[in-house]
């Protein structure tokens, strides 16, 4: 289904979706965040990349697994806590972030389907916004199989055509949302479709950053485990968690018990994000650490994304959103690192 929605009507559409919980980009001074909103007017679709991707909604930083408590008869009881299936809509999803969810989908599927992830995933509709202008100077989606108007993982793709949006439904979930406000939408004219094509072609040209020889990288990496490159590239790494926490594809987590009373015991078991750049991530309780230094941790990040994930799921675990580059406090640039990897291979 292809439709036209004027920008003026956009807030009315959002209002029609009152049965859904709405998330959208919201401006907070100099940055943009993805937030739950009540007022459609607060949505800012001109935002650059939100600091955190929709990952934070589907795979929240903190998820309660279960609660445990000692009953009056001194009996320990464990209660499973599953998230409520709140029908939700996320507006302004960038194509790279939608693609990223198709990658985390793979991780949370398989022999063990993750009920927490899927409850949230299945109840969420993703409304994408094509990037006519790269939302970050470090965008490189074209290098990793994406594009500024990719439809992968989206339920609807909106393309900004000046005073209106070209709205394309890509799934049943998407069509449902359009049908809830049918009168607001018009049939597109041939000129609109032309305009979309033109915008898309121009958008691709505006993406300046790219990884050279991406196709060769997985096989080159196979022989680079002991390369001195990792030492060199990680010299300034601060061991913070920005690159991984902001990454829309990174999915590593920790499980801990949070106790409100230790005797009798009462508390919650929670999952929180964790990341491979923290030194305690792999440390055994004996103190032995298989990845003891910055260089082995940078190597893990690169190899996981461009070798291991490719081996396991036949795709790069990177969608080119550029967040890790833009926000790295010391300017570690994954494109640069990968370019040096290709040089290494030649």
């Amino acid at each position: 289904m292809e439709k036209i929605l004027t920008k003026k009507s956009f807030p009315q559409w959002v209002k029609k979706l009152s049965l859904y919980k709405i998330y959208a980009p919201v401006r907070d001074n100099d940055i943009c965040n993805l937030e739950a909103i009540d007022n459609p007017e607060s949505i800012d679709l001109d935002c650059s990349n939100t600091v955190l991707s929709p990952k934070k909604i589907i795979f929240p930083q903190r998820e309660i697994y279960l609660e445990f408590e000692t009953s009056d008869e001194n009996k320990l009881q464990v209660k499973e806590i599953l998230p409520e299936e709140t029908p939700s809509v996320i507006f302004g999803v960038r194509p790279c972030d939608a693609k990223a969810l198709t990658l985390t989908d793979k991780v949370f599927s398989g022999d063990f389907k993750d009920p927490y992830y899927w409850k949230r995933r299945n109840s969420t509709t993703l409304i994408g916004l094509a990037c006519n202008i790269p939302p970050s100077p470090n965008c490189f989606c074209l290098s990793v199989g994406g594009s500024p108007h990719s439809k992968e993982g989206l339920d609807i793709l909106m393309t900004d055509l000046g005073d209106k949006y070209f709205v394309e439904s890509l799934s049943e979930k998407g069509s449902t949302l359009i049908n809830l406000a049918k009168p607001l939408f018009q049939q597109p004219k041939a000129a609109d479709k032309k305009a979309v094509e033109k915008t898309q072609a121009e958008a691709e040209k505006k993406i300046v950053r790219q990884i050279k020889d991406i196709k060769k990288i997985p096989s080159i990496l196979e022989n680079m485990f002991d390369s001195p490159l990792w030492d060199k590239e990680s010299l300034s790494c601060l061991r913070c968690g920005i690159c991984t926490y902001l990454c829309p594809t990174c999915h590593c987590f920790d499980i801990n018990d949070e106790v409100s009373s230790s005797s009798p015991v009462k508390g919650k078991r929670v999952r929180t994000w964790d990341n491979c750049q923290f030194p305690d991530f792999t440390m055994h309780s004996s103190g032995h650490n298989p990845r003891p230094d910055r260089s082995s941790r940078l190597r893990q990040r690169i190899l996981h994304k461009f070798q291991y994930f490719v081996e396991l799921y036949k795709d790069y675990q990177c969608t080119g959103c550029g967040r890790c580059i833009s926000k790295c406090p010391v300017g570690i640039d994954i494109i640069e690192v990968l370019d040096k990897v290709s040089d290494y291979g030649s």
Binding site: I31, S236, T272, I332, E336
Partner: protein, 343 residues
């Protein structure tokens, strides 16, 4: 402004003569104007060095890494490491020396004076340029910056794009150095704690609302801690694991490690982390502003540290980062310290 060629020459000489084992400086990176830390070993590589108002990092942070690396080496190179420091960075170094974390002999200080300028606030600059990209930035004598963009040169007043901390800087020149480049001139700052005024004038509930909103954003990436030269503890109370585990550490010792803050990024845990960090930096933070710069969620962390800097000054007449021989704020006292709050 300090002449870059002079800096390169000094660096070249130090490396050539083998006075230092390497030099920590700034070089151009690939993410816009943000430089990257440069670790220069070969004299010819000094050509990579840059010096301009984009050089925001506090490079003394890397002396902490150096110390750890050296401790793990069997036959370490005993020569000092050269490090380029601005005024604020030099005060960080003073604190590290004061706390005897770094030995004076282990570091060769190449001081560069910001003179009347300082470093840029990337976000302020982006706002002023409205989407245009800066290619080059220079400071001119009349308190302006000349910014080159694709549209040519624009002159912008320093106040508009200087980092907030530079506008409140106490000494724009290094207070400790082996070589000093540039002149010891000070930028006029009439209000050293100006940025606090707005928040101090809020009511208690407004302050709470403000801080709750800010700290609730925290995702505990610990970039603030990681970038801070003063956050050199082997184990941080925010971590729930023992890092100082050896073969002799008993299971009990490991099991009894207290979880002061959970990993969950919720109000109570985020506050424990940030309050502890603030108080641990009281009398130690020299306001290099790095924690605030690196915060991906734009939490104004500087306002926490600046507040305690102000209280240290007002309550105890304590100023941080000028004298490596002065006892630290919380390991000293005066008989006349205020006690009107005590019952």
């Amino acid at each position: 402004m300090v002449n870059l060629e002079d800096l390169k020459n000094e660096a070249h000489k130090l490396l050539k003569e083998g006075t230092v084992k390497y030099i920590i400086g700034y070089e151009r990176g690939t993410n816009g104007l943000l430089p990257i830390p440069a670790f220069i070993k070969n004299p010819e590589d000094v050509e990579r060095l840059i010096w301009d108002p984009t050089c925001v990092f506090n490079l003394t942070r890397f002396l902490v890494d150096e110390k750890r690396r050296k401790a793990s080496e069997k036959e370490p190179d005993e020569r000092p490491v050269g490090v380029i420091v601005k005024g604020c960075d030099s005060r960080a170094l003073v604190v590290l020396l004061q706390e005897k974390f770094i030995n004076r002999d282990d570091v060769y200080i190449l001081g560069v004076s910001c003179e009347e300028a300082g470093v840029l606030d990337e976000k302020k600059l982006a706002k002023t340029l409205k989407g245009k990209k800066a290619k080059n930035i220079e400071f001119t004598k009349n308190d302006n910056f000349v910014v080159m963009t694709e549209d040519g040169k624009t002159e912008i007043s320093a106040k508009e794009i200087l980092a907030e901390r530079c506008l409140e800087c106490k000494a724009n020149f290094p207070v400790i150095y082996d070589i000093l480049l540039g002149e010891k001139v000070k930028r006029k700052s009439d209000k050293p704690f100006g940025s606090l005024e707005k928040f101090e004038s809020l009511s208690k509930e407004e302050r709470w609302t403000f801080w709750k909103e800010q700290l609730d954003k925290c995702i505990r990436c610990y970039a603030c801690r990681s970038v801070c030269p003063m956050c050199y503890c082997d184990e941080c109370v925010a971590d729930t694991i023992n890092f100082a585990v050896t073969a002799d550490t008993t299971a009990e010792e490991k099991a009894q490690k207290i979880k002061w803050a959970e990993k969950s990024p919720v109000t109570s845990e985020n506050f424990v982390y940030h309050l502890v960090r603030a108080i641990h930096l009281a009398g130690r933070c020299i306001d290099c502003g790095e924690c605030e710069r690196v915060c991906p969620l734009d939490i104004p962390l500087r306002l926490l540290n600046k507040k305690l800097e102000k209280e240290a000054k007002e309550l105890f007449d304590y100023e941080v980062g000028f004298d490596p021989d002065q006892p630290s704020l919380v390991s000293s006292f005066k008989d006349e310290d205020p006690e009107d709050f005590i019952r």
